[in-house]
Amino acid sequence: MDKKPSHVRTVVAYIVLIFLTFLCLFFFYILVVNATRNHTQIQKGFSFIPGKSFIPNLKHVLNDANIPVLSGIKNSLIVSSLSAVLATYFSALTAYGLYAYNFKLKKPAFIFIMLILVMPTQVSAMGFINLITKMGMLNTLFPLFLPSIAAPAVFYFMYSYMQSSLPLELVEAARIDGCGEFKTFNRIVIPIMKPALAVQAIFAFVQSWNNYFIPALVISDNTKKTLPILIAALRSADFLKFDMGKVYMLITIAIVPIIIVYIALSKYIVAGVALGGVKE
């Protein structure tokens, strides 16, 4: 009897969903299309059909000495990969330390991490810049990935995952089997944590790949710049003189790899979001 209202609701739901899908995809579609068109075509207006200037635009971007794209990609890859590895490994190690062992400072340590769970790093940026200047790390990539060792949100995810998937009896079994504590972590715990590590590695990678605030303060040397800094540099240049094909191409280079990885791993990632709850 109430078939009809349900029907209407379904139609409304699909319309809204399709509109939102359009909103999410439209801008990226324009981006990719414009990356394949040349400056004059872009100036003329808007098109849904890709142009033929993909290769020329790419060449222009790669040959521009002011925007060292290749070294930008390389730096971004180095920083993001190392951040992902450090954040996941050490967060898992920390979570394991607090999960599997009993010691006096266990509870205070846990509470402390939970308290700083969502503390923005920006609040200590000033001291951070000062400190790394003194340590001689200004204009190096180290300050961009070393702090990832302390990633409270990743820790919390790992800790929750251990609570649900790592029975302490396993650790004890390993102890009886003669497995050392550190070896137990690497040979038993890490393999069990693999799904959690993968999801968090992806998030940590993306976060670092997209990070702009701290790198912009730390890096001034052109060869050390990461992609977001290059994009920002594009913005501060005199925009009107710019080849728009080049602009879109650079944005494409910064965004598309992540989108491809995302689509390939989307099932893991979406499931990971639902599990995590906590993400910066």
Binding site: E172, D177, G178, K194
Partner: protein, 363 residues
């Protein structure tokens, strides 16, 4: 040679709770000992102290002749089977069983030989390449046993290994573990909260409560001669009946009186209790409906609250003189609920306990 000896062992946790106040126990070499008791009685803690998973607050633990307090688990020559089996989920059955040997740097061929030997005994050979996830509960259980076996330990520790299995498998594994014990000829220490498991498997059973050993004896002795109310109530199913009775002096001895019953017990141990209330323990099967058991003063005429027909016998839940009783009588003598039944108490099998100290007076 690997007996296990506890000498004045105390276990206090970091939060100040003492779970084992003063434990003295001797487990003989090649013995199958079952630690049994309600949850929180300290049985698991005791087992884990043998394993080295819990530190010992004070006292001494010996395995064989060696003091083990500060020896790490791997050097104690023990193996343990956990309640959850604790199989490494990312390793195959083979790897699970070989892991300890690998860590001990055993040569490859020897590992192979030992794993296959254990797998053969346990019927696990077809599954060696599977991951634990692809196994049934019973198979996982056997892998856990196999992992313990390959190490040739002097002591096997088993922590509620059957509690995750369904009833049928549990009975099956019970006999398999008993068989394994005979085959291997090593010391087994087995923790359970299930008195049936304890009774059927143990050479000796150690009944614990609040970290204190109540009685440590053979199954038969525990059943026939429980030393206190707790053991009497814990061992046996359905539970022993506890009846408050007054002790009276009679011509040639004493009588335990409750309701119309006057049970004659000629035991001098009752002398100090004349005129006082004691607790009579009567096992459900020691009530008899058969006519030949009736004698002077040992009959009760009780109202049946509920009857449970079990096939060959029937459990009757009785209300007699304000006390609830359970009896187990042959089906052909049983009656239905809401009827009255006349039963005789087997005076020779009666247990008498002090109401205050809960210790046995005579049995």
């Amino acid at each position: 040679m690997a007996g296990i000896t506890f000498k004045n062992v105390v276990k206090t946790y970091d939060n100040g709770v003492t779970v084992v106040p003063d434990l003295n126990m001797e487990i003989k070499d090649k013995e199958f000992v079952v630690l049994v008791g309600p949850s929180g009685c300290g049985k698991s803690t005791t087992l884990r102290m043998i394993a080295g998973l819990e530190s010992i607050t004070s006292g001494d633990l010996f395995i064989g002749d060696q003091r083990m307090n500060a020896v790490p688990p791997k050097d104690r020559n023990i193996a343990m089977v956990f309640q959850s089996y604790a199989l490494y989920p990312h390793m195959t059955v083979y790897k699970n069983m070989a892991f300890a040997l690998e860590l001990a740097k055993t040569p490859k061929e020897e590992i192979d030989k030992k794993v296959h030997a254990a797998a053969e005994i346990l019927g696990l050979e077809p599954y060696l390449d599977r991951k634990p996830k692809a196994l049934s509960g019973g198979q996982r259980q056997r892998v856990a046993l196999g992992r313990a076996m390959v190490r040739n330990p002097e002591v096997f520790l088993l922590d509620e290994p059957l509690s995750n299995l369904d009833a049928k498998l549990r009975t099956e594994m019970r006999s398999q573990i008993s068989k394994l014990h005979k085959q291997l000829g090593t010391t087994f220490v087995y923790v359970t909260h299930d008195q049936t498991e304890a009774m059927t498997m143990g050479d000796r059973i150690c009944v614990m409560k609040d970290g204190i050993i109540q009685q440590f004896d053979t199954p038969q002795n525990l059943y026939d001669y429980p030393c206190n109310l707790f053991v009497a109530g814990f061992i046996g199913s359905p539970q022993m009946n506890f009846i408050d009775a007054t002790v009276e002096k009679t011509g040639n001895g004493f009588a335990l009186c409750f309701g119309e019953a006057k049970l004659n017990v000629n035991n001098e141990a009752l002398a100090p209790y004349v005129g006082k209330t004691v607790v009579c323990g009567v096992r459900p099967e020691d009530f008899h409906a058969e006519p030949q058991f009736f004698g002077e003063g040992n009959a009760i005429d009780a109202y049946i609250d509920l009857d449970e027909m079990m096939g060959s016998e029937s459990y009757l839940y009785l209300d007699y003189a304000g006390q609830k009783l359970v009896t187990r009588v042959p089906a052909r003598y049983a009656k239905k609920a809401d009827e009255n039944i006349k039963l005789a108490v087997d005076v020779d099998k009666i247990h008498v306990f002090d109401k205050n100290t809960e210790l046995v007076i005579c049995q």
